[in-house]
């Protein structure tokens, strides 16, 4: 099914939860990963439309976690 037809389905970003669990600030993580605080904030607030694999790998490296700890898929039915 094309993305635009899957109305209501969403990718959930749990970066804020992992940051809190690791006790790292957004600014510190941005410096370690090598992307701007603005872009990391876009990701944290769920406004990102795509993420590079290199960025995802760097986040997992610095936060010592797996991609599934950072992003999750929530089907449309679960949002009601």
């Amino acid at each position: 099914m094309p993305p635009e037809e899957d109305e209501g389905a969403d990718i959930v970003v749990r970066l804020d939860e992992v940051l809190a669990a690791r006790g790292i600030t957004l600014t510190e993580l941005a410096a370690r990963v090598g992307i701007t605080v603005v872009n990391l904030s876009v990701l944290k607030n769920g406004r990102a439309r795509a993420i590079r694999f290199s960025t995802l790998a760097a986040l997992c490296r610095e936060l010592d976690c797996r991609p599934g700890d950072l992003i999750d898929y929530r089907p449309a039915a679960d949002r009601t």
């Binding site: 992307i35 872009n39 876009v42 406004r47 990102a48 439309r49 795509a50 993420i51 590079r52 960025t55």
Partner: protein
């Protein structure tokens, strides 16, 4: 560090281009207004201004070919007298003024529309965001305006001259073959290239949208 190309677009280039376009657009709009006013009897039509009160038309069918002032042919050349004549209107009516200025009006309107849209595209370069839906539309407008001007201006010339000739000489109006013969196929090709460029911008806009929000 890689060297900067001397052809790289700089801010100064953008300023110069915009300035030239603004001046040219202002001049074109002034000419357009002058042409509009010239249609009315407010301005003299004695040929002293920028708008000609005469047209060059073909000789009527059956008119004897004028004699050339020199022998018509030699071992190395051939000479033919002109098959056209000039009709000058010393005191044209409003309708005649309209037919005399119509090609210029169409050309000036098309040029102004093209320059206005080019100016908007140049300004988007300053902002650093040329791949937008608005620029796609502007390029399409430019392309279609060039195409329309290429087709309509020669047609207006031929139709106007034909009607004026018919009015003065009592001959037939105009022929479709002559109307189409004035079209520049080079400019038709240019307008097709511009449509292609608009399509490039459309795809670039779509790619840019895909990249927006990428971290």
């Amino acid at each position: 560090m890689p060297k900067k190309s001397p052809l790289r677009w700089s801010r100064a280039d953008g300023v110069v281009v915009q300035l030239v376009l603004i001046l040219a657009l202002a001049a074109t709009l002034l000419s357009f207004v002058f042409s509009l006013v010239w249609i009315t009897p407010l301005l003299p039509a004695d040929g002293s201004g920028p708008i000609m009160n005469s047209v060059t038309v073909r000789l009527p069918e059956g008119t004897p070919t004028p004699e050339a002032p020199v022998p018509p042919a030699g071992p190395e050349y051939g000479i033919e007298a002109s098959q056209s004549m000039v009709i000058t209107f010393h005191d044209p009516t409003t309708a005649q003024r309209f037919l005399l200025t119509l090609p210029a009006l169409l050309a000036q309107a098309a040029a102004a529309l093209v320059m206005f849209n080019l100016l908007r595209v140049a300004r988007s370069l300053d902002v650093g965001d040329p791949f937008t839906p608005a620029n796609v539309l502007r390029l399409r407008v430019i392309a279609l305006t060039v195409l329309a001007g290429t087709l309509l201006v020669p047609a207006a010339e031929e139709v106007g001259e034909g009607l004026l000739r018919a009015e003065v000489l009592g001959t037939d109006g105009f022929e479709i073959s002559y109307v189409l013969g004035g079209v520049s196929f080079t400019m038709v090709f240019v307008s097709l290239l511009l449509l292609g460029l608009a399509e490039v911008f459309r795809r670039g806009t779509r790619m840019r949208d895909d990249m927006r929000g990428l971290v």
